[in-house]
């Protein structure tokens, strides 16, 4: 865009893209104060409006070396005319690019690469997170100069807000003709949290040194440490193609943790049945996905499992870390449990549970006891012992009603998948992946299970049709669109299926 720029242009224009609470205003104030001291005319403005409540805000600053005549300064950034764009979050950098503020020939883009997820990303029923690599790549390629790292992390380590880190990165970028001392003087003069802000500033100034702290890449499959582990590993390597090993090892690890070696063996038995039919394509995606989904399903979250996970030593340590408890602070942890009569019965021996659920009188008698949610203070001895006792029911899990129910569902599901694998590998994969619909607890679980059942019944009607896999995929995606089931109903209609296909 060089042909349109004014060669004698002396102004420096800065756009700050921030979210409410990130201190964008403070950053703007520092820049204005610093420039004023450096003998510049500095003008800043912003558009907060409703953006102050969780939305995005743009602060815009124009600097001009003091001259005999006052310059005419603009109040909003113009595409192609912005020297510096500072984005306090990755997607805000993306937004600056979209609005044309980031110019190939002119703009230094300083952005924190961390994410603050938008409500649309958070509330999706599955994975709604935007593609960060695409945006990051756009930032790298569309700016004249890109300075980007996880400044939120740097701020956290420095014990500051993100604004001084951005200010430090701005100083280091050399995009402003002011010395580091001048930047620091602006922080000092503002006289608010000077120590923390200077630390944050320093962290931002070094910026790249931060790379050493980047999270390590995901672990390679661990090697077995026990007799049972080695046996299972040997079986995996003997019976499965290499592509499926990683998930299968994760699967047996999880099921050992969940139940015992025999249960892990059962997992491999089931997986083997599918693997034997998986002959399409070299990547064995059907086996791999079955390894994943089967392990997830077989480790369904029953009361025993939840009590087990809640009482582990590692969990308490994680809580302390997450809430950033200091060593001299005392932490009490309260769980929000809502065991309904259904969950209680599911934990009972199958015949007892079934009887209670079937008997209207007993149910009516017992259910008031389990209508209220419980505040379970798991760090208190009484509640801990109850949870510990429930976790200790693990050896008797096979006798519970829930175990019977889940194993029956798993067997039915795998039988259908095997049936499909013989003739239609695509449909088989879709069936296997449908397990992903079953999530959560209580009503959420019931909704997922219902949608899952719809898919199975659609398979039964569509098997042997060439569009079977595509139909199943369309329905699965629709089921994840909204929790009221509007999209799924619409999709069922579209495929010519009655809404009550199940």
């Amino acid at each position: 865009m060089g042909e349109t720029s004014n060669p004698s242009r002396r102004r420096i224009t800065i756009a700050i893209m921030a979210l409410g609470g990130q201190g964008g205003g403070v950053l703007a104030d520092w820049i204005i104060a610093m420039a004023t001291r450096e003998n510049y005319v500095a003008q800043g403005t912003s558009v907060p409006g409703v953006a102050q409540r969780t939305g995005a805000t743009i602060y815009y600053i124009e600097l001009f070396p003091k001259a005999a005549h006052p310059p005419i300064l603009a109040l909003s950034p113009m595409p192609g005319d912005v020297n510096i764009v500072i984005a306090a979050e990755l997607m805000e950098a993306g937004r600056a690019i979209l609005r044309g503020f980031v110019d190939q020939d002119r703009t230094t883009l300083i952005a924190s690469t961390h994410r603050i997820y938008a409500i649309s990303e958070k509330s999706a029923m599955g994975d709604g997170i935007a593609n960060r690599d695409y945006v990051l790549n756009a930032a790298r390629t569309r700016a004249r100069n890109f300075v980007g790292f996880d400044m939120e992390f740097a701020a956290e380590r420095a014990g500051s807000m993100i604004s001084p880190v951005l200010f430090g990165a701005l100083a280091a970028s050399g995009a402003l003709p002011f010395s580091r001392e001048s930047f620091e003087a602006a922080i000092r003069d503002s006289a608010i949290a000077v120590g923390a802000n200077l630390k944050g500033f320093a962290a931002g100034f070094v910026g790249e040194a931060d790379k050493t702290t980047v999270a390590p890449s995901p672990d390679l499959p661990p090697s077995p440490q026990t007799q049972a582990g080695r046996k299972l590993q040997a079986r995996i390597e003997a019976e499965l193609r290499k592509q499926a090993w990683a998930f299968a090892i994760e699967g047996v690890r999880r099921l050992l943790d969940y139940q015992d070696a025999a249960y892990a063996e059962l997992y491999l038995d089931r997986l083997g049945a599918v693997a034997a039919l998986d002959t399409a394509g070299p990547d064995r995606v059907l086996t791999r996905e079955t390894a994943r989904h089967l392990a997830l399903w077989m480790s369904y979250e029953d009361t025993i499992r939840v009590a087990d996970l809640k009482t582990r030593r590692s969990r308490i340590a994680r809580v302390h870390e997450e809430v950033r408890a200091l060593p001299d602070q005392v932490v009490h942890v309260t769980e929000f449990m809502h065991p309904r009569l259904e969950e209680i019965c599911e934990t009972m021996p199958a015949w007892v549970g079934r009887h209670v659920l079937r008997s209207k009188t007993i149910s009516a008698l017992l259910s008031p006891l389990f209508r209220q949610g419980r505040h379970v203070t798991s760090t208190r001895l009484g509640w801990f012992l109850i949870l510990y006792f429930i976790a200790g029911l693990r050896p008797w899990r096979r006798g519970t009603l829930r175990y019977r129910q889940e194993q029956a569902r798993i067997d039915a599901w795998l039988a259908l998948a095997c049936d499909a694998a013989k003739s239609d590998a695509g449909a088989a994969l879709e069936l296997v992946q449908s397990q992903g619909l079953i999530k959560g607890y209580g009503d959420t679980f019931a909704r997922g299970l219902k949608n899952f059942d719809i898919l199975l019944s659609v398979y039964r009607r569509f098997r042997n049709r060439p569009d079977c896999a595509a139909t199943l995929r369309g329905l699965r995606e629709a089921a994840l669109k909204d929790e009221e089931g509007h999209a799924l109903s619409a999709a069922l209609m579209q495929f010519g299926l009655a809404v009550d296909a199940a």
Binding site: T4, A28, D29, Q43, G44, T45, S46, V47, P48, V50, R53, T54, G55, P70, P71, I72, L75, S76, M78, P79, D81, G94, L98, I119, S120, E121, K122, S123, G126, I129, N131, V135, A138, T226, A228, G229, L232, R253, L256, D257, R305, K310, R312, V323, Q329, V330, V331, H332, V333, T334, F336, M337, H338, G373, R380, F384, K439, G442, D443, T444
Partner: protein, 711 residues
């Protein structure tokens, strides 16, 4: 006390002649009022003018010592009515509000004060909430100025001009016996800049003097026959007087080249944007030395025929840069040129968009079209062609709609409503103005209409349920309640025997406008009367079915109360008063107290929530029932799970809603509440040590069992 404090900045208001004043536009306006010797000020807060009200409030002591009376008006109508003080007395007064909505509310009083005219200078400062960042319907205040004959100033956006125009406004008002409006755009209100101060002037005539020596002039009261005289007076006396003053005082400016074939007429507020667009087109420079003549309308109503005709004389065409619609100035310019038999073409909306904000890019493309057609011989740099729009990027970058703050007490109200709707089906919900309106957005998606501030109950009044049929629900904030809702909502509902349900959100502040105090605020306020309960007012207008809930976070109670209101056999309006303090303001209030207590070694318990990632299955039901900024997601560390898991970040304030939701909606056991005791007592520590020992012993056993069955 408001969200933003100007306590230190207001000291700048004392600066004397010659001093350099640096600060926000809003603060500069306040200083200008003091320099103009204003005797009284009032107004109603709302973006972009909220800070002006906050500055007034924080400067109340200083105002008092300068002999200035300041009032936080109950509404814009109340503020406009205050200008009555300038009708009979030489008192200068100023009021401020968000426009166009505030002007709508004020219009009854405005029409009256404009009809009878004023003796003392009367200034109305309007924050024109138009374009980016606006939260209201896109309309022009200009129409109000025209219909009531109120002069409208739209100064160039730099502090020197703005301050100057504020002072000139009073002179104009007095010279023409007409109230004057000063329009400030969103960015101008928040503009940081400098001007050279003048001394403050004490009002030459005070409110007390007026009260002690009342003056009455029946000709200034709007009732026939005076009202007919007023109309004639406006046309024959006040209008020409105003035009004469504007002309003589050179309120409008002629900038850029002295002559040319084509020129530009621009609203003052858009001048800086225009110059930037011209500069990038190669038609001006950074100091405003435009190659085209520019006529800057710092006064956009009325126009000055002599100036217009002089500017247009000999020009092929003029471009009128006038933001918003309808294009009143363009029409008027055509009329003026026609009347003078001029030949100049007036070009405005023909090359500029009819609707929407006039940003630099918009103006640049309009200028290009104008110049190509009317001055093709002038070289001009074309606007850069934007590289192909990146559709993928557009798809990836998510929208950020506004939402309730972390820990907001209004959130659980809508969580409960969502749960009631799941049970009883959808309801017609009449929304209001204020934070509560965020319910219409994800994740709640609740609310059918909003008809104005405090008008949600009235907005549902046509819905009279059939016997046994569904009732409508209205939601109103305490701001809306005191602004208008008490009479047009609840008085109306009682009188017309409404059978609907209204939820009044009583969070103790006018929260959406920046946390100002209200009649029902729980805080003590040195200059205002607070702690007037909403319930008392409701009983006063005759409402009997009232359920105050003092903890909105109690979702089951909220849900059950709402269900009861929707299903009770009792006829008449049913009101639930949902009372919990605005969290944003509560945090501002208690944080300093807590850190002080911690420093003093006191035992402090604070709470926050967390989620166990190994029991979270990634369905995000909790987020769809909450939407709290601190309740987010993070990539799953479980190699078998691809969906992100829910996660509570460190901004959690421990409001408790997460736990309530997981209970009330029977969600999942992943949530936990951590109570963190700072400065624990000896008993705390002893108890903790004993528990840690016993629990640790059992965990050791479990760990060994786990190790035995490990991989």
């Amino acid at each position: 006390m408001a969200e933003r404090s100007f306590k230190t900045e207001v000291e700048k208001l004392r600066l004397g002649a010659g001093a350099d004043f640096g600060g926000e536009g809003i603060l500069a306006v306040t200083k200008a009022l003091l320099q103009a010797g204003v005797a009284y000020v009032g107004g109603y807060q709302g973006s972009p003018i909220s800070h002006l009200m906050d500055v007034f409030s924080d400067a109340d002591a200083l105002l008092r010592e300068s002999g200035v009376h300041f009032e936080t008006s109950a509404s814009e109508a109340a503020a406009a009515a205050m200008l009555a003080a300038s009708v009979n007395y030489p008192l200068r007064g100023a009021v401020a509000w968000k426009s166009v909505v505030g002007t709508n509310v004020a219009s009854d009083a405005l029409s009256n004060v404009a009809s009878g005219g004023v003796k003392g200078g009367a200034l109305i400062i309007v924050g024109e909430d138009y374009g980016e960042g606006s939260s209201i319907m896109q309309e022009r205040t200009h129409a109000f100025a025209m219909k009531s004959q109120i002069w409208l100033l739209d100064p160039r956006p730099n502090l020197t001009t703005i301050v100057d125009m504020v002072e000139r406004s009073f002179e104009l008002s007095e010279a023409s016996n007409t109230p004057v409006m000063l329009e400030l755009r969103v960015r101008t209100c928040h503009l940081q800049g400098h001007f050279t101060a003048r001394d403050n002037v004490r009002p030459s005539f005070t409110i007390a003097e007026a009260l002690n020596n009342p003056v009455r002039d029946i000709d200034r009261i709007v009732l026939p026959p005076a009202s007919f005289l007023h109309e004639v007076e406006k046309i024959e006396k006040r209008w020409p007087a105003a035009q004469r003053f504007i002309l003589d005082a050179h309120l409008n400016e002629f900038l850029g080249a002295a002559s040319g074939d084509v020129g530009i007429i621009v609203q003052g507020g858009l001048y800086n944007t225009l110059n930037r667009a011209l500069e990038l087109s190669g038609l001006s420079d950074e100091f405003g030395n435009s190659k085209l003549p520019i006529y800057v309308l710092n006064v956009t109503y009325p126009l000055i025929p002599e100036e217009v005709q002089a500017f247009c004389r000999g020009k092929r065409a003029v471009l009128i840069v006038e933001e918003g619609q309808p294009e009143f100035i363009e029409h008027e310019l055509n009329t003026l040129i026609n009347r003078a038999d001029g030949r100049t073409r007036v070009v405005g909306k023909a090359v500029l968009p009819r609707a929407g904000e006039y940003t630099g890019a918009v103006l640049r493309s309009g200028i290009e079209k104008f110049m190509k057609e009317f001055s093709p011989e002038t070289p001009i740099l074309g606007a850069p062609r934007r590289e192909g729009e990146d559709a993928r990027l557009n798809m990836e970058v998510p929208q950020r709609p506004p939402g309730f703050c972390t820990g907001c007490p209004e959130r659980p109200i809508f969580t409960a409503m969502k749960m009631v709707q799941r049970e009883l089906g959808a309801f017609h919900v009449s929304s209001d103005i204020g934070c509560n309106l965020f319910s219409i957005l994800p994740p709640f998606n609740i609310g059918n209409t909003t008809m104005g501030y405090g008008l949600s109950s009235a907005g549902a009044s046509a819905f009279k349920p059939a016997p046994g049929g569904k009732r409508a629900i209205a939601v109103m904030g305490d701001g809306g309640f005191w602004h208008n809702g008490l009479t047009s909502g609840f008085g109306n509902a009682v009188f017309n025997q409404d059978d609907n349900v209204v939820i009044v959100v009583d969070n103790g502040y006018s929260a959406a406008t920046g946390g100002q105090d209200l009649l029902s605020s729980a805080a003590d306020n040195q200059f205002r009367s607070t702690k007037n309960p909403i319930e008392k007012a409701l009983r006063g207008v005759g409402i009997d079915w009232i359920r105050p809930l003092t903890r909105t976070y109690d979702v089951p109670r909220m849900r059950d109360t709402l269900k009861a209101a929707l299903t009770t056999r009792t006829k008449g309006p049913k009101v639930i008063i949902a009372q919990s303090e605005c969290m944003l303001n509560k945090q501002r209030r208690i944080r300093p107290q807590i850190s002080k207590a911690i420093k003093a070694g006191k035992r402090i318990v604070h709470e926050r929530f967390g989620i166990d990632p190994d029991t979270c299955t990634g369905d995000h039901s909790c987020i769809r029932l909450s939407g709290c900024p601190s309740l987010s997601v993070k990539p799953s560390m479980d190699p078998l799970r691809t969906d992100p898991v829910a996660h509570v970040d460190n901004s959690c304030v421990g409001c408790g809603l997460c736990g309530e939701i997981s209970h009330a909606a029977v969600l999942c056991p992943s949530f936990y509440r951590a109570q963190i005791v700072t400065n624990p007592t000896r008993i705390d520590r002893l108890g903790s040590a004993i528990r840690a020992f016993l629990i640790g012993f059992l965990q050791g056993r479990a760990d060994r069992a786990l190790a035995r069955r490990a991989f």
